[in-house]
């Protein structure tokens, strides 16, 4: 059951007038322009025991993604495909109102949006995750841990997942007839992802549309729209969020702003991942 949240931090509501007054003048409380994305940094291989990992900082939003590979049997209807599972955890150490326990609706929604972006774009190549067709496959577990919340977790989660998958190299396999030997210590050059995907979130506050909302902006935003893109400009995922609504002109404008912000994120990924 989904209940209207009651545990919201009220501090941003006190700042609402200041945020709106600044937006009217064309600036944001953190000094950015309305269509300006925050600076980001990516550290690959941050968690050494994972097959691949990445720490992403977007402003002060910090998320750590780790990829673990497990051998499993394929599903009967997809014998020649591996498996991808995305999970997002909103850790209680990341923010005052995040509580311990199994993933809540927010964490589940984040994970499912990231999963769909990776899957529907065909960025993650499930056919590469096959060990023996019909018998043995890899399940790639992408666990995304939110360590510090400063707004726009979703974009950071997609970035971290993509970076961690680029950091993942499949273990060496030796096949002798019926037997396979998996040598985890030795890596192949095969990575489970074909090309990058990015998610860009825009938000509407009053009559203003901003990209990459920070925590205060996000707390008072009426509505958010997140759009995922590939390098060739295809839209590979979309999710409206929050209780507000959008006019068709808003949607059109948000898609345009998001598409150009996606170029910035793809350039950044290129730099960090040596694509």
């Amino acid at each position: 059951m989904s209940v209207t949240p009651s545990n919201q931090n009220i501090v941003p509501f006190v700042k609402k007038e200041n945020i709106l007054a600044a937006l009217d003048r064309g600036v944001r409380i953190d000094g950015r322009k309305l269509n300006e994305y925050r600076k980001l940094s990516i550290t690959l291989g941050y968690a050494k025991k994972a097959e691949g990992s990445a720490l992403v900082k977007l402003g002060d939003t910090t998320v750590l993604a780790g990829v673990k590979l497990e051998e499993e049997e394929p599903f009967p209807d997809t014998p020649n495909q591996g498996n991808l599972v995305v999970n997002v955890e909103l850790l209680p150490l990341a923010y005052e109102t995040f509580e311990p326990g199994p993933p809540d609706e927010n964490a589940i929604e984040l994970a499912r949006v990231v999963d769909r972006s990776l899957r529907d774009s065909k960025a993650v190549d499930l056919s590469k995750l096959v060990i023996i067709p019909g018998k043995k496959i890899w399940t790639a577990w992408v666990d995304v841990y939110v360590l510090n919340y400063d707004g726009n977790i979703l974009d950071a989660c997609t970035l971290a997942s993509v970076a961690a998958l680029y950091n993942t190299k499949l273990p060496k396999i030796e096949v002798e007839g019926e037997n396979v030997r998996i040598i985890r210590e030795e890596k192949t050059d095969i990575i489970p992802i074909n090309y990058p995907v990015v998610t860009v979130t825009t938000a509407k506050i009053g009559n203003h549309i901003i990209v990459d909302p920070n925590i205060d902006e996000e707390s008072i935003a009426d509505v958010k729209l997140s759009i995922s893109y590939t390098r060739d400009g295809r839209i590979v995922g979309m999710q409206k969020n929050f209780s507000g609504s959008l006019t068709l002109q808003d949607v059109d404008m948000m898609e345009n702003i998001s598409r150009s912000a996606a170029q910035y994120l793809l350039e950044e990924l290129k730099k960090y991942l040596n694509l």
Binding site: M1, S2, S6, M238, K240, S245
Partner: protein, 243 residues
Amino acid sequence: MMQVQKPRLILENGLRTDGRRPDEMRPIKIELGVLKNADGSAIFEMGNTKVLAAVYGPKEMHPRHLALPDRASLRVRYHMTPFSTDERKNPAPSRREIELSKVIREALESTVLTELFPRTVIDVFMEVLQADAGTRLVSLMAASMALADAGIPLRDLIAGVAVGKADGIIVLDLNEPEDMWGEADMPVAMLPSLGQVALLQLNGNMTPEEFRKGLELAQKGINIIYNLQKDALRKKYAEYKEE
């Protein structure tokens, strides 16, 4: 046995697997006030998709500390009955149902005038009785009709329809094969007379041009559904007036 090969979705005559044109919707049936105990209820059918929705409230919120001082809370559950699908669905809430309950709650919050009922809660329950593509939107529409039936003030009714891409063609109101094998699925719900988008999701892939074409097509469908929704309300309450 599960079908592994993708079937043709657009046949040689340009029609879809169920004989519809690309811009044609499935037949719609709306029934109001179907449950005795609920304050408002509705059954909404779109083709073979059938959803029952019920509304209780506004009523006092328990526990009290969860009540909002300035408006009503919405408590929303989207649930699929185990027999609504080809293979039995486990009745425990899945991650999908948890996500959709949230997405539907947020869409309903854009139309319910919650500020009129501070410190209360409005319960909205949806049970999918038959699932044949489009269950989230049919559920959302059933809920909006049940809210209207309960007499809860709304900014507008919610009408929604999915658009998608099947064999490269933009199609309106996806059927199950198109949902499963098509290249894109984009559910859109609006408050039609206000021109506001209340729900928007997309999975699959579309170019920005296809996306805009899809939105336009969805709007056409939404206007048709909106008229049927208003007719259903008028029919129930106008008949009452004539007596």
